[in-house]
């Protein structure tokens, strides 16, 4: 443990048994960040195991690896785990660790709130998974559409536990968002003007604003659903307005997509300039694009509902707003390309993952254009085309940025670099495995295979889906192998990796100014900030001083 953790805050030493006092009661944002990230990675593994069972079930037509009810619980658990307990939680963790460091603060603005917010997550996870031991967890998909989730059609405890779990999760998210915003507004180092904030911090501002706004509607939707279930109200029942549930859910659900990807955008905006040895291209437009996405993402939710029978003019509004998101996203893309253009690029592992992210996320963005066009969406909606699309933006997007960030900041968190050979294997297996899994999956949807079916008929239509599905299952195990390599790498490098030093990548931002891992109070003295790349300024000054000294 001693090698894992930064030096312990002294005030805890005398009170309890030390490791318990350190990890259970710490208010240090770095330790809380590590716990968030560990929770996220564990959820990733669990959600991945669910995915593998799903893939085994779908390998051949009319398979019976699991029964339909279990299958429905598995797809719900896969979605819930990956979205709520992995990506969002991991992103919160990495921000928890690095936002205070990047703005030059000693800790988060509300350390005890941070502690509470983190510990609500394991509570939320335990509440959700306890459904598996009390007669079946949620079985209506991660979206939990009413009226399938009303008491009439779903009398079990699983839906209640899921709703309670996500209400706890949403409150925790609101706490974390408040904390991030306050930290960034109030605790910046001298000279760290808003126009000098690292883009990762800007991304965290926009993410926090989104979660603050849409977290409460999620809780509201679930509380109303519980009213229907427990107190016989009729908000979403067959006597009520089932589609109202979808509106409330997706008013949260679509911005959630951006809550999961905006921090990733921020990470990429940090990584490319460092390894291309160029400043970010168009800092101002990058920030503007973030807020363009924040604004638009709250006006597109009904594009998940183009088949529920809305007025076509309402559909047109949501279609146009959805298409407009391509504009700020395109700006970010072209600015990243311009940042790397004619750079002196060191293709280290973080940079490889950043480029892997751009190459794959682009495909998810383009299929998103097809899906945004309402007429085309009525063909593709609820089919495997959508499953492929969402994995391209969530796995090819968010998860690739998580890997990029992990390889980038692992040396700062642990003081050691991740093993390069294993990392190369990880990169190529995940890139090939991911694309093999999900690229052909588009064709299943185009051939008419709906999502969320527990099995599919063989030879019912003129062409079967069996061969494509078998191929996808094989490819999905390549992705599983890549994750295994990643975890082996993390575990072995954490103890025995190459010692990194304080600033292994010649970074631009303040987290590289302190030691690796940073001391409890982060900085002995905060460096002066005179641009959005304070560490580069410092390094250039030192180099010119050394040059002068050697010249004279």
């Amino acid at each position: 443990m001693a090698t894992l953790a930064p030096p312990r805050p002294k005030s805890y030493d005398d009170t309890f048994w030390k490791p318990i006092s350190l990890w259970l009661t710490t208010t240090d944002h770095k330790l809380i960040g590590i716990m968030y990230m560990t929770t996220g990675i564990l959820s990733f593994v669990v959600g991945g195991l669910f995915a593998l069972i799903i893939r085994l079930q779908l390998t051949t037509p009319n398979a019976h690896v699991v029964d339909a009810e279990t299958y429905n619980q598995l797809i719900s658990a896969h979605g819930t785990t990956m979205i709520f307990f992995f990506v969002t939680i991991f992103m919160t963790g990495i921000a928890n660790y690095f936002v205070p460091l990047m703005v030059g603060a000693r800790d988060m603005a509300f350390p005890r709130l941070n502690l509470l917010g983190f510990w609500m997550i394991p509570v939320s996870i335990i509440i959700y998974y306890s459904g598996f031991f009390t007669g079946g967890a949620l079985n209506a998909g991660w979206t939990g559409y009413a009226p399938l989730t009303t008491r009439q059609f779903n009398p079990g405890l699983g839906v209640d536990l899921w709703a309670l779990s996500l209400i706890v999760w949403a409150i925790s998210g609101i706490m974390a968002s408040t904390n991030f915003l306050t930290t960034i507004v109030a605790l910046r180092a001298p000279g760290m003007r808003l126009t000098r904030l690292p883009l990762f911090v800007w991304a965290q501002i926009s993410t926090s604003i989104l979660l603050l706004i849409v977290g409460a509607p999620l809780a509201a939707a679930l509380i109303l659903l519980e009213f229907d279930r427990q107190f016989a109200t009729n908000f979403f029942t067959t006597q009520g307005r089932p589609v109202l549930y979808q509106h409330l859910f997706w008013f949260f659900g679509h911005p959630e997509v951006y809550i999961m990807i905006l921090p990733g955008f921020g990470l990429i905006s940090e990584i490319i300039p460092v390894f291309a040895r160029k400043p970010i291209f168009g800092y101002g437009t990058m920030v503007a694009a973030l807020f363009g996405i924040v604004f638009l993402s709250m006006a597109v939710w009904a594009h998940h509902m183009f088949t529920v029978g809305m007025n076509i003019y309402v559909e047109t509004f949501f279609m146009i707003m959805t298409m407009l998101i391509a504009v700020p996203t395109g700006i970010k893309f072209f600015n990243w390309i311009a940042t790397a253009w004619k750079g002196s690029i060191d293709f280290t592992l973080p940079m490889k993952f950043a480029f892997g992210f751009m190459a794959t996320f682009l495909i998810g963005g383009i299929t998103g254009i097809y899906l945004s066009a309402v007429p085309v969406d009525t063909q593709l909606h609820q089919s495997y085309y959508v499953v492929a699309h969402l994995h391209y933006v969530l796995f090819g997007g968010s998860v690739m940025t998580i890997f990029a960030g992990f390889y980038y900041w692992f040396p700062k968190i642990t003081g050691r670099k991740l093993n390069e050979t294993l990392g190369e294997w990880h990169f190529w297996t995940v890139l090939i495995g991911f694309n093999a899994t999900f690229l052909v999956m588009h064709t299943l949807g185009l051939e008419g295979m709906p999502r969320r079916i527990a099995t599919y008929p063989g030879g019912f239509g003129e062409e079967g889906w069996g061969a494509t599905n078998a191929f996808i299952t094989v490819a999905s195990f390549l992705v599983a192998l890549s994750v295994l390599l990643f975890i082996i790498n993390v575990v072995t490098s954490w103890r025995n990796g190459e010692v990194a030093g304080d600033d292994p990548w010649e970074g631009n931002t303040l987290e590289w100014a302190t030691s690796s891992p940073p001391p409890p109070y982060n900085f002995d003295h905060v460096p002066q900030v005179r641009s959005f790349m304070p560490l580069r300024d410092q390094r250039n000054e030192r180099r010119s001083r050394e040059a002068e000294a050697s010249a004279s």
């Binding site: 029964d67 339909a68 429905n72 209506a140 559409y145 009226p147 399938l148 009439q152 059609f153 067959t238 089932p242 040895r277 160029k278 400043p279 291209f281 800092y283 437009t285 088949t307 529920v308 029978g309 076509i312 047109t316 279609m319 146009i320 504009v327 395109g330 700006i331 893309f333 072209f334 390309i337 004619k342 750079g343 060191d346 293709f347 480029f355 751009m358 190459a359 682009l362 383009i366 097809y370 066009a373 309402v374 007429p375 085309v376 009525t378 063909q379 593709l380 909606h381 609820q382 052909v440 064709t443 185009l446 051939e447 709906p450 079916i453 527990a454 599919y456 008929p457 239509g461 494509t468």
Partner: protein, 302 residues
């Protein structure tokens, strides 16, 4: 574009590098890029949605093709730029002394890649809007040749015909929704319990069946045939068994069939006894023959 003083000299330096070497470097990357495409073609996988046997389905197909043109151009452009960077701008190739130009931005370029995507999106949105107006409104009564009331339930369908009979289809062995060719058939969609989805990919797009209100969709099938589909909204443990068949026959065959159904439903107000299947409803016979089971129409059509 603002350029550093050494920009031009740097540019010469990589221009002078051997072209052949660059091509050799690029070869494996190009192969990786082409691999999925060749794999697709070899396996006969279709990168396009069904062409549609109904005009609205065909229009969706055409719109998909239309969007593909800018989509493929953007894909090729961006992946090409990324590939260029990967091949050309490696530090290992350029050497440690290469000083990259320190651009902080370029207003004109950034305006270009804001405005061009914006115009592209507005164009796609406009074309899609016209398609919405044309095919996605409830067809007028005058234009409708026949309306079938489709009702979804866990886990099957009821098709109530204007002639006063209804076909019920439950589970895997679907009883087809029989319709005449060349006629505009309007479907009124509703659900008895949870939300279901009506989708026959070869005919047209999907529409949800939502309890509490009626949705409408339509098709006008131009050829006799039989097409499959299934429920597209997760509706419970039997969701994947909720199969759907649509069968188009010539108008005269349809009239004969409809008369048979009418005659069969008239004497018995309840489903025929001894019909196979575990469901209490009139359930499907193993073979998808249209005369297998009928039950009285629950509602006259509007």
């Amino acid at each position: 574009m603002p350029r550093s003083a050494d920009f031009y000299t740097e540019r010469v330096s990589y221009r002078s590098s051997p072209v052949l070497r660059r091509l050799l470097l690029a070869a494996p990357l190009v192969m990786i890029a082409l691999l999925p495409g060749t794999a697709l073609a070899a396996s006969g996988l279709n990168p396009l949605p069904p062409a549609g046997v109904s005009p609205n389905g065909r229009n969706i197909y055409n719109l998909y093709l239309g969007i593909s043109i800018p989509a493929l151009i953007v894909f090729a452009l961006v992946e090409g730029l990324l590939l260029t960077i990967v091949i050309r701008d490696r530090r290992r190739r350029l050497g440690p002394d290469y000083k990259p130009p320190q651009w902080h931005g370029n207003g004109r370029l950034e305006i270009i890649w804001t405005v061009v995507p914006l115009l592209l999106m507005v164009a796609i949105g406009t074309v899609s809007f016209f398609e919405l107006q044309r095919d996605f409104q409830r067809p007028a009564d005058a234009a409708t040749d026949m309306q079938v009331d489709v009702s979804g339930h866990q886990f099957g369908w009821t098709f109530a015909y204007p002639q006063g009979f209804a076909i019920t289809s439950d589970g895997l062995n679907a009883n087809p929704l029989v319709v005449p060719t060349g006629k505009l058939v309007r479907l009124k969609l509703n659900s008895e319990d949870v939300i279901h989805g009506f989708w026959v990919p070869d005919i047209s797009g999907k529409t949800d069946l939502v309890p509490g209100y009626d949705n409408y969709t339509w098709f006008k099938i131009d050829q006799p045939g039989e097409w499959r589909g299934e429920c597209t909204e997760l509706c419970g443990s039997g969701h994947s068994t909720m199969q759907l068949l649509v069968k188009a026959v010539s108008p005269s065959d349809f009239n004969t069939w409809a008369a048979q159904q009418q005659a069969a439903q008239a004497p018995s107000p309840s489903p025929p006894a001894g019909s196979p299947g575990p469901s209490p409803r009139a359930s499907a016979s193993p073979s998808p023959s249209p005369s297998a089971s009928v039950r009285p129409s629950p509602s006259p059509s509007s």
